[in-house]
């Protein structure tokens, strides 16, 4: 029976890709290991190798096709003795383990397609953006790259260092093109030594340089956390104000997809516990850009928590010469009067979806995107709760000693008399992140849980 070649997933979070090029023609013989096609994602161009032998029967997706979903059949391979007439017998295009493995990705398992992109509808205009400003549509990845490039053009003391940031163009392609524009002096590939290069970055910052230290993910920054906290965060205080450290530590934080416990952890609560650090965790493309620019200019150490799942998401970014969003200001992403839902980063995905659902049932939720976790914009939270009388926090991290717990405490301290119900927390479950797709889904918060919590605090 003819074998189907499916669109492979080239990374844990890939949902679709472009079929850039066919390297084999219909009727050509194919041996296992032959490169048959090139696939482009927003991160990279990858080769698709055949894992089966035979003849390329039919190309189902012509080259140049954009946005081909993972697991879509892209071609059929005919085994010896089969002819094009057998093509009709090919199995229906149902989800099936990919027959073709990408050249470098882990074999065998085809990562499950992720959910559709998060809604980025924002009800409230951002006060930082003048009315009538032209907007451009960008991925978050591009917004981050532009923020770094603009700041590097503006200030020769700004440089980027990290694993694969230069020649490889970034493990997640966030630093794409920076090496070409700024050269190897300012875009520096490091060895895989997080502890060491974090310290090197802090030392350089103590002399007045402004490093952007990229961690491939914040999971690996645990190796470096001594330098981040003991050296970067505390030196200004310990030196009586003489010597500080203007440095940005950035990279993806939180759950990716199907990478299990050691690569899926939310560090929001860890870093936001530490005086001397600022902690930023944006959600929208515009915020990613404006806040990264602010972080790079900030004279203090800033932890800039990104989210891998969001990198490919697009949003409207103001086309301004110098778009900077101040650190420490939350934003009302959707206004409402019945319940306040407070979240940040990818938690906003669940919060906004839940708000849509709740609206259908007549509950108008006010959704607050904190954007910055330290210093926390308590005022915006409290003003909202005074209006709604109810609050739900949403985070991917664990509940115990979490950011949601902190928000609940602040609401209790500042708006106890306004509360009509106890604050509810929706969080990641109190377990290490499991690998199995169904368990992973259960371990993360969901829009349904947010809806349920919001209804509970509304006594509905």
């Amino acid at each position: 029976m003819p074998i189907q070649v499916l669109m492979p997933a080239l990374s844990p979070t890939m949902e679709k890709g472009n079929l850039a090029k066919w390297l084999k023609k219909e009727g050509e013989t194919i041996k296992s290991g032959d490169v048959i096609a090139e696939i482009e994602t927003d991160k990279a161009t990858m080769e698709v190798e055949a894992t089966d032998e035979g003849t390329l029967g039919k190309i189902l997706i012509p080259e140049g096709t954009a946005d081909v979903a993972v697991n879509t059949p892209i071609a059929t391979i005919l085994a010896d003795g089969e002819s094009a007439a057998d093509l009709a017998k090919a199995p229906a295009p149902v989800a099936k383990a990919a027959e073709s493995a990408p050249a470098t990705a882990a074999k065998a398992e085809a990562p499950a397609p992720k959910a559709a992109p998060a809604p980025h509808a924002v009800a409230e205009p951002d006060p930082e953006v003048p009315a009538g400003t032209e907007m451009i549509t960008q991925t978050i990845r591009e917004a981050l790259r532009d923020a770094m490039a603009e700041e590097m053009r503006r200030d020769p003391d700004v440089f980027v260092m990290g694993e694969e940031v230069a020649e490889y163009q970034g493990a997640y392609k966030v630093t794409q093109g920076l090496l070409q524009e700024f050269g190897a002096r300012r875009v520096i590939d490091t060895p895989i030594t997080e502890h060491g290069f974090a310290g090197v970055g802090v030392g350089a910052a103590m002399t007045g340089l402004k490093p952007i230290v990229e961690f491939m993910t914040f999971n690996f920054a645990m190796q470096a956390i001594d330098q981040i906290i003991n050296s970067a965060a505390k030196t200004l205080y310990m030196s009586g104000g003489q010597m500080g450290c203007s440095i940005v530590f950035r990279g993806p934080n939180g759950a990716a997809a199907r990478v299990a416990a050691q690569h899926s952890q939310d560090y929001s609560a860890w870093y936001s516990n530490v005086p001397g650090l600022k902690v930023v965790a944006p959600f929208s493309a515009a915020d990613y850009k404006g806040l990264l620019k602010a972080a790079i200019r900030d004279p203090n150490p800033v932890i800039f928590l990104e989210n891998e799942v969001l990198y490919g998401h697009t949003g409207e970014v103001p086309k301004l010469d110098d778009f900077v969003i101040p650190i420490g200001k939350a934003r009302i992403a959707r206004s409402g009067s019945h319940v306040s839902i407070i979240s940040w980063s990818n938690g906003m995905t669940y919060a906004l979806k839940a708000a849509d659902e709740l609206a259908k049932e007549g509950i108008e939720a006010e959704v607050i995107d904190l954007r910055t976790l330290r210093p926390m914009d308590t005022e915006t939270i409290i003003n909202s709760v005074k209006k709604t009388g109810r609050a739900v926090t949403v985070e991917e991290g664990w509940a115990q000693s979490g950011v949601g717990a902190e928000i609940a405490a602040r609401i209790m301290e500042n708006a106890f008399d306004y509360l009509d119900a106890p604050v509810a927390r929706v969080s990641g479950k109190d377990v290490p992140m499991p690998y199995a797709a169904n368990l992973e889904k259960l371990a993360l918060p969901s829009a349904a849980e947010v809806v349920e919590a919001a209804k509970a605090v509304c006594y509905r």
Binding site: T193, G196, F197, V200, V202, M206, Y237, S239, G241
Partner: protein, 340 residues
């Protein structure tokens, strides 16, 4: 005069020094004596004040190791940076930081270098290019490598002198830093102050490779063992290492064979070594006595040496007086310098 633990001299050492260090001029000898004496008397006074309860927390004295920082400082030029761990009082005085400010920091007073908020292990001086004062063993090695990174970035010709002990030399980030320093040819002199004990654990109980000058071998970083009790040997080695760095050849490791007379900290009962061992080093190899004897042999008068001693004692006594009478920081200082 032999090093405390006579290790096999490296071939490089023999080649460059021929075994005995170049002589100092009389001015150099006098300066070395004065700077080492200042550290010794300062540390003795700090020990006293600790005993009186005027200094709290941890207090790690540098007595015995004075030739290392004084000799190294004589090899540096304006702009070169110094960074070290928690046994840092000597380094600060050697870079020219004021005794008053250091002592007042030890007593936690507002006139201290960190306004009383850093203490013994955490002091800094931008003006003197002293980057601390770090309490986490080994952390200063990555930071010092970062100072060298900045020198390279700015092409300013400066060298980072990064001190750490035989104990810190076993930390993982030291080797991460060695790798990057050689890879990027950073101008950093790694000065390993081997005083033979990491707190209470002797080098032989903690280190598989006890020749610390070889710790950079797998990174192709040259290293040298130096008699860290002879200020002339230290300076000569510092000159060589600094020239290497300034020529763009990358990092250099100097193992300074030295000895601390006092405990690891003030609260150290020192059960891990004998009194005789300490006395023998003090009697045979004291870095200050070596210089004093040479000066006397060169017909410098006792009176001249006493005058130096008196000048140093005055500075130290004044610093102790200042440090005990300067007010504590204002309560409002609790909340300052967290962010800028």
């Amino acid at each position: 005069m032999a090093a405390p633990k006579k290790a096999a001299a490296s071939a490089e050492q023999d080649k460059t020094n021929g075994g005995s260090p170049p002589e100092f001029t009389r001015e150099q000898e006098l300066k070395a004596l004065r700077d080492m004496l200042l550290i010794r008397r300062f540390e003795e006074k700090a020990g006293q004040l600790y005993g009186m309860g005027a200094i709290g927390g941890f207090c790690h004295l540098y007595i015995g190791q004075e030739a290392v920082v004084v000799g190294m400082q004589m090899a540096l030029k304006e702009g070169d940076q110094v960074i070290t761990g928690y046994r840092d009082h000597g380094h600060m005085l050697a870079t020219g930081m004021e005794a008053n400010g250091v002592m007042a920091e030890l007593t936690g007073r507002r006139g201290g270098y960190s306004k009383g908020k850093g203490g013994s292990m955490h002091m800094f001086s931008k003006e003197k290019h002293f980057y601390g004062g770090h309490g986490i063993v080994g952390a200063q090695v990555s930071l010092g490598t970062g100072l060298a990174f900045a020198n390279n970035y700015r092409s300013n010709g400066n060298v980072s002198v990064t001190y750490f002990g035989d104990g810190a030399a076993n930390q993982g980030q030291v080797y991460e830093s060695f790798n990057m320093a050689e890879l990027w040819k950073l101008p950093v002199i790694y000065v390993i102050e081997n005083n033979r004990y990491a707190m209470g654990t002797s080098v032989s109980r903690a280190s598989a490779q006890q020749d610390f000058s070889k710790r950079g071998v797998s990174f192709n970083i040259p290293g040298k063992q130096v008699d860290g009790m002879d200020v002339r040997a230290v300076k000569a080695a510092g000159d060589e290492a600094a020239a290497w760095c300034r020529a763009g050849k990358g990092p250099f490791i100097l193992e300074m064979q030295t000895y601390r007379y006092r405990g690891h900290s003030m609260s150290d009962p020192a059960k891990y070594r004998t009194r005789e061992e300490v006395e023998k080093v003090r009697h045979d190899q004291d870095p200050i006595e070596q210089v004093r004897n040479r000066l006397l042999a060169a017909k410098v008068s006792e009176a001249d040496l006493k005058a130096i001693d008196a000048e140093v004692r005055d500075i130290v006594n004044a610093s102790a007086d200042f440090a005990q009478h300067d007010p504590e920081p204002d309560a409002a200082e609790l909340w300052t310098d967290v962010y800028r």
